[in-house]
Amino acid sequence: MSDLRPSLDTPEVAAAEEVVAAETTGTAPRSRRRSPAAMAVRRFRRNKIAVFGAVVLLLIVLLAVFAPLIAQQSPTAVDLGEIRQPPSSEHWLGTDASGRDVFARVVYAARVSLLVGIVAALLAVLFGTIVGAVAGLFGGWLDTVLMRTADMMLSFPPIVIIIVLAGILGPSIPILILSIAVTTWPTTARLVRGVTLAVREREYLHAARVAGASRGWLLRKHIVPAAMGQIVVVGTIAVAGAILSEAVLSFLGLGVQPPQASWGNMLNDAQSLTVIQSMPWLWLPPGLAIAATVLSVNFVGDGLRDAVDPRQSGRS
């Protein structure tokens, strides 16, 4: 009853504990299934900003998937007779320096941005999860080596690593994805290691060990599921980061290469002051697209964090 309760930090905590005790002793049969995931979903749905972000993000994804149906024109068709035309009924967002349709390019570029963002984040999270869980579960010198490596990666400005990699290996989408992933995995690794260290001392993990569970079993059945909520959160935020990185690198000419459209390399075309002042249709649409995507991904990420975190984290 009391000698294992957390100490009374404040009277409020004490009071809250009594309430929790009261709640947990409630034995009334409940109709809804209350799995931790279902409870997280319910909390997420109560968060208006996160739901708004999710809706915007869904629209952007639909835009990317159905790009050929939405954009009537080809994003790469050059028409030198129609360069830098302002928006018209034919070209909704005007044309660029090569006479290509800006609307089509913005819509198709969503595919590239989302692809790079999602694949890079997935790679980073997957690698980071494995490294973090192994470091936390095995400990010792392996832990030291892995975590010092992660620290080293974190101490370089990612942009420098990416520029060097892109410079050596040549700019291409796979290289872009790889270089973004290489600079983002340490965040996940540290997080998963932290969760692993916490879960490793949990008695339910001890119970599995006493039953004869191998380390692989503990990883699959307990540690990764315990970290999953937070992995989803960092993964989401990593997507936003990767989309931004893609934009920056493509803007610098180290990422997606023309004629393929990306929001970053579209901005590249708008470097001169005259363009910025007199031809907003060249830079405003890709700029807004980046902002809207990154912002909505971050809203979703924050919502997920709040949905996954409350109290749950304390009892992972």
Binding site: S7, L8, P11, E12, A15, A16, E18, A22, E23, T25
Partner: protein
Amino acid sequence: MENTEPLLVIDELAVEFRTDEGVVKAVDGASFTIDRGEIVGVVGESGSGKSVTAMSILGLVKSGRRAGGTIRFRGRDLGELAGKELRTIRGAEIAMIFQDPMTALNPVVTVGKQIVEALRLHDRKLSKDAARDRAIELLALVGMPDAAARFKQYPHEFSGGMRQRAMIAMAIANGPSLLIADEPTTALDVTIQAQVLDLLRVAQQETQAATLLITHDLGVVAELADRVVVMYAGRVVEQGDVTTVFTAPRHPYTVGLLESLPRLDRDVDELHPIPGSPPSLLAPPPGCPFHPRCPLARDRCRTERPELRVVGNGTAVHRTACHFAEELAAVPTEVTR
């Protein structure tokens, strides 16, 4: 008036907490009193509302809402006092002893300095030197070996038992008239617990302070208290002098508690647990809150909430909140044997 009313009167206190699931009635109409210089033990299990009641006396239940009732200390309604007045009473007239001494001790200030500050906060005329001497005196009083050296140490240099002593020294520094001890020995080992119980006895004798002892441990109450208040689901279900309540309990919950205890002092063939679990405070059962677990329960218990009433021969004021308390008198139990 000051002389006739008890030191502390808690009258129909109700405290609620809002949660995602609904309103939790942590305390639901609790009433009891404490006289000057007496030790009152409040016992109950988790969720009984005993801690919330204690916290309410000092106005320390921030997330909860006082839903009703009054708390009068020396005839003054604590609920009507402004923040500043309440702070003056806290620490000077009412002092608190916590389960975890580190909640009361500042880790970055020496123990001596904390006691000196506590003394001078409530007595500004006290000189530094006089406060220092008094603080060392207090540390010695609580059985701190080499008090003068301990005066200069930080809380982390103390063992658990020593911290408990330091906190008690601080609590009694200003000669309070009411000490509230919330599970003061729960986190301690048996041999250290015995030391602290002795110490609480000494502190009480030294200051003549009334003591409100909140605990789940019936043994601690039996050792220390003059009177006992039994709480269940936010209500007081029985109260009376400690010997009467322990040897002739008149509420089925108290009987159940005593019968479910394994005993150090004798062999018990079989424990008799109370069936079921305490009710959800989100939706407490109608009528008597104990009726779903009670062997005496019948229709009246399910509809009519029993109020505290006097039972027994009236030599000591023994009250119970059970419609059928008299039936318990007829059945000799394990406890009364």
